[in-house]
Structure formats: C-alpha cells, structure tokens
Symmetry: C2
Subunit: 361 residues, 2 copies
C-alpha cells in the first residue's frame, strides 16, 4: 500500500530542489513507496508523484495486478505509445524530475513531446530520503541483523576438518531460510587462510587447513531488508603474534568508528579514524577499501562511508562499518563488519555477535 | 581493431537519419565496431563517431588498456567531470545521436551544457547495420552453429535411464568447451515430458521416464557469436498418434517458413505461414510465442520474426525459426529451431541436425 508519509517526505525533498512533480522509474524506489515490486525488464514503468495531484502508476498490462495499493493504475500494452498517456497526467507547464536510470529511449521522446517544461535528474530527492529509515524499516532491519547473528552461530558449526569454502557456502542459504530469511542479500564470502587476503575472493574448492583464518562475510534478506556482517575466526591454532596484532587493529578500528557514530558528525571522519588506527599500527597500505556503505532494501544503497563523503550523519541512516587488513605475507585477511543505525542521540549497533578472537575446531 | 568498414556502414545509416555524429554507449556495439569489450558498470563509457572526424573512445582510467585499436583513447577518472571532456570532441553546432540505453544521469548534463545542438535516439543506425552480418561474421556464425550441431549429437548420448534434466544440463558446458566454444549463449533448456509443454521451463530434478519427449534448446558462443538450436526427441517409446501429428506440424511449420526466407520478403509473412500451418492442424492456441528472433553477438538482438515486423529480409540477416506446440494434455511440448542466414538470392540454414523423429534409449 502506498506510504503517504514516504511520498510526503520525498515531496519535501523535491521542494528543496524546486521540483513539483517527479516520474520515478527505479523499481526498488517504487517498491519502497508503494509496497509493490514489479520487474519490468526493458518495458516502461513509472510512478508519478506531485505536490498537487494524486500519485499514478504507469504499468504494462503484462504486469497487471489486482490488489489496491492506493495509487491509480494506468495500463498500456506493447503496441501503445506511452508518451500521450504520460501527457494526460504530467503538468506540461512545470519541470519534471526523472531518475538517474531513465534511458534515452524514454527521455528523448518525452522531451520532444514537451511532456514537461524541463527535465531534471531528481534521484537525490528519493535516494537521500530512502537513506533515513523510518520506524517500520528500523524494526525490520533490527530483526534482519538479529537473524544474521543467529546464522553466524550456525555457520561456525560448519567449520570441520577438510571442508571446502564452497561446501560451507552451499549450506548457507538453507540456514538463512531456517531462521526466517527469504534469501541472501549477496552471495556469501567464505575465505580460508591466504584467500581471505583477497577482499574480492569468492568461495572455491580450497580445503580448510590447520592455522587458517576463516572469514565469513554474509547477509540475508528479511521482509525485503538486507543484513550484512563479517567475522574472522581462526582454525585449530591460535593466531601468530602478527596475526593477533592485525586482528586487534581491525577490531579497534571497527569499535572506535562505531563509537563515533551520532547525528551531525561528518561521515568522512569515521573513515579517517579507522584508517588512522590501522595506519598508525603499520598496516595502512593493506586497508584497501572504503570503511562502509549504506544499506536497506538493497545491500549497497546510495551513500558511502568514505574519505570523500562530507555529508553529516542523520537519524535513521543505517550503514556498515567494515575495516579490514589484507596481508598475504602474514597469510591472513581480517575484516570485522557490523551494521550501525544512527539514532536521535547516538547510535545502535545492529549486530551483537562477539568480536573476541575465537579459535574453532 | 576498429573496423572502418562497419563504421562507414553506420555513418551511412546515420545520414539516412540526418545525423552527422553519434555517441555510442552500448558496450556490445562498441565491441562490434572496435573489437574491444569493456564492462564499465555504472561508469561512463562511449565511442564517438562522426562523418567528419576520427573516432574517439571515452573510457574510465580503471579500464585502461595498452593495445592500439585504431581509435584515440581519452581517459578520465571517477573524480573528473565527463561533460567538458566530451565538449572538446563533439561538434556543439550539430545534432548528436545517442543510443537508447544512455541513462538520464549522463544525457541531462550533456543537454544542459549544450554538448550538441540537439539529441536523437540513433540506436537504429547501429542496430539495423548490425543485423546485416558481414562476411567475417557469417563465417564465424556458420562455425558456431556447426559446433552446436556436434554438441547436439553429444547431448543425445547423455539420455540414460533415470537421469534428471539438471544432471544433463550440468554436463553441457564442458561439451561446448570440448568442441571449441567459450561458453553458453544462454542457459540450456532441458525438458522431459510434460515439462516441455512449458516453453519457459528451466532444468530441474525431474527424472527421465519411458514415453517422455526430450527437448533440448541449446546454444554456445564461438568467437563471440551465438548459436541457438532446438530439437525434440522421444525416449524409449514411439510417440502416440497425437504426438506424432504435433511433431510433424511443428516440423512442417519450421521447414516451410525456412523455405520462404529470401531478400525482400516481409518478415511477418514467415510468422504467418508457420502459424497458419499449426492453426490449420488444430493447435494454433498452443503456439504461444513469436516465430523467431535475430541473433549474432547477442543471443537476442534487435529484430524479431513476428506478426508485427513489416520490414523486409535483407542479405546478411541471421535469425531463428522456432515454431512450437506446447500441449500439456498430450503430455508433450515440441519445438524445432534452426538459425537461417539470408543470402543474396535466398537463404542458408546454419543447422544441419536431422529433424526426423528419433527414439532414444
């Protein structure tokens, strides 16, 4: 059902950008506003919202649906010209916001037929609004991460002599489902030993060996919202002194960055703090990616936690904090990742899984 | 290396559409023109061609490459603004063709900065040119389909008592590779018995049973060009009278439509003929899709063989002819598909695999 509250928040953001009307074509954004998820492929699909008029959904008759979602549905077929249909609803004398992914094959004919007096990329009005989760979303994301904590406990039990990364990864989907998730938020990363030193490693036929580190970067989807957490364990042997130093640096970077999260702080300073800790510890060159990313319906949403993001934290934002050190010469990669919610006065870490060094097997 | 002949053909088509210059962003089209395949993801990527100037490739420095391809390479980074870079090359006083997939996030700033005097969707200049394969492409597509014929012979040998659709499908990639293909042109369809009556069925754990039909819709990629063929066999038992009637109707529709292919014929008439044969036989309602699609570097390219395509066949076009009857009540689905090349005076069928009724096992 259409969330009038979310529509109103987007319209407020549109006003800040001098837009009275917008045609949204990103299916994820339309789901967020209406609760309805359609996969239009190459076909036109759009939700029109305006400060003066009721919202309208333009949808190919192939994707017809019965339920009422509080939005007028306008159907068309593959042989219809969509432009005159749009003209009946869009105010031609005003500018129109479109979103960043609208392809030229729709935008150019809209311009030629003067569907609006001008066209702007209005995506930020949606993306920035979506980044601030409302109470219902926060409740779901808390539960999604709670499920991820439970799954991590189960994943640990799969760590058995001689098992391969793929053999573990292949069992994870069922475990997510057994805890109430509908699927993965991304293909899980399972990496043993030196493989963990490649942050893009995908699970392969590498078998577990004594002395390996075991990295799990995993997330599930619960009621359409993603979780995302990373933990790094050790197998059979205690870590070497250098490995322990690396682990503790990553943990310190994770915890100190989390501790700083509160409304009003410049997001780039989180990345800076984590990077300083790891650099001062002598491993700066091995922390090769940004500190985190925003998350919600999509695993990676608009907004990153990097040295270039000068925006301020705002209540409702959820993002990852995931420092890492990838050090092939120490035969190890360590990443420790949690999701954190910005609250009115500070923050709430959504993952509760221990970060103590743990030796499995 | 840039194919000047292909660029010239596109520029000829552009002239027919009053375009002197075009900015191409589809990575497949750029590969077809330059031999270089880049996967730019969300980043800007473009090939500029013009009737008056040398071609220029705009490419993120992340995708830098050494080899000379006969095109000036202009690199930029994630922090560069691409618009002033484009302005240095594009003639601002002329209209610019862009392609249909160019997203609003690039097109709108190009318009605002008046990179050109106007913007048109010029994709057809490329798509229609690409549909007419040149001698080199024809040679490769012939070989690609020859490989598919050889693979079909091997796939047939996998039909053993109790085997499942997935167990057969899982062996197909290695068979393609053993015959010199680099991979699939699409995930293979293997369907037994009633499953074949669903034209969108994907291989599952259904086990083979006596009396099943066995449908293989398969294709491989050879030197970047796709093959695509369907054959329907029977397992252990001869088909029933009704199944035989269905099979022979589909075969007749396939063969008569192929026979009509020649330059100058309206493409829709092929679909009409095949549909008439099946309808007159009493199974019109079970032929639920268009007769075929164009094919080349992509399995489905611009151009279809349907009742709405009033264009004429032209030498160099390659498309499928794939009538089918999907009849759950007769416990059968039959599709027979070949690729056909339009020649100067007629046609050449690229597949040579027998269409006689064959009982396996």
């Amino acid at each position: 059902m259409l969330s009038q509250a979310r529509v109103n928040r987007v319209i407020d953001e549109m006003k800040n950008r001098n837009l009275d009307q917008m045609l949204i074509s990103d299916p994820v954004a339309i789901f967020w506003l209406t609760g309805k998820w359609v996969h239009p492929g190459e076909r036109f699909y759009g939700l029109y919202i305006s400060k003066d008029k009721a919202p309208v959904m333009f949808i190919n008759a192939l994707f017809q649906f019965e339920e009422e979602i509080g939005v007028e549905k306008v159907y068309f077929t593959d042989t219809d010209d969509i432009i005159p249909i749009l003209k009946r609803y869009i105010s031609a004398e005003k500018r129109l916001g479109v979103d960043k992914i609208l392809p030229a094959r729709f935008l150019l004919p809209m311009m030629e037929s003067r569907v609006a007096s001008g066209f702007d990329n209005g995506s930020l009005a949606i993306d920035e609004t979506r980044s601030m989760k409302d109470a219902m979303e926060i409740e779901i994301m808390r539960e999604s991460s709670r499920i991820n904590d439970l799954c991590m406990e189960d994943f640990k039990k799969l760590v058995q002599p001689g098992i391969t990364e793929l053999e573990i990864a292949d069992q994870m989907l069922d475990i997510y489902k057994s805890h109430g998730a509908s699927g993965y938020s991304f293909d899980p990363i399972v990496a043993f030993g030196k493989n963990a030193a490649d942050p893009h490693h995908m699970p392969d036929n590498t078998a577990l060996t004594e002395g390996d580190c075991v990295l799990f970067d995993v997330g599930g989807v619960y009621q359409n919202y993603c979780s995302d957490m990373t933990r790094t364990f050790f197998y059979k042997c205690a870590p070497t002194e250098e490995q322990k130093k690396i682990y503790n640096l990553v943990r310190q970077a994770n915890e100190e960055a989390l501790e700083m999260v509160r409304p009003g702080i410049v997001i780039a300073t989180l990345d800076q703090r984590a990077r300083d800790i790891i650099t001062d510890g002598g491993y700066g060159e091995y922390f090769t990616h940004r500190l985190g990313h925003f998350i919600g319906i999509e695993d990676h949403e608009y907004g990153d936690v990097s040295c270039t993001n000068q925006n301020l934290e705002k209540p409702g934002i959820v993002h990852s904090i995931e420092p890492g050190i990838y050090c092939p010469k120490a035969n190890i990669g360590v990443r420790i990742e949690d999701l954190v919610l910005v609250t009115e006065n500070g923050h709430e870490v959504l993952n509760h899984y221990s970060k103590d060094i743990e030796i499995l097997g």
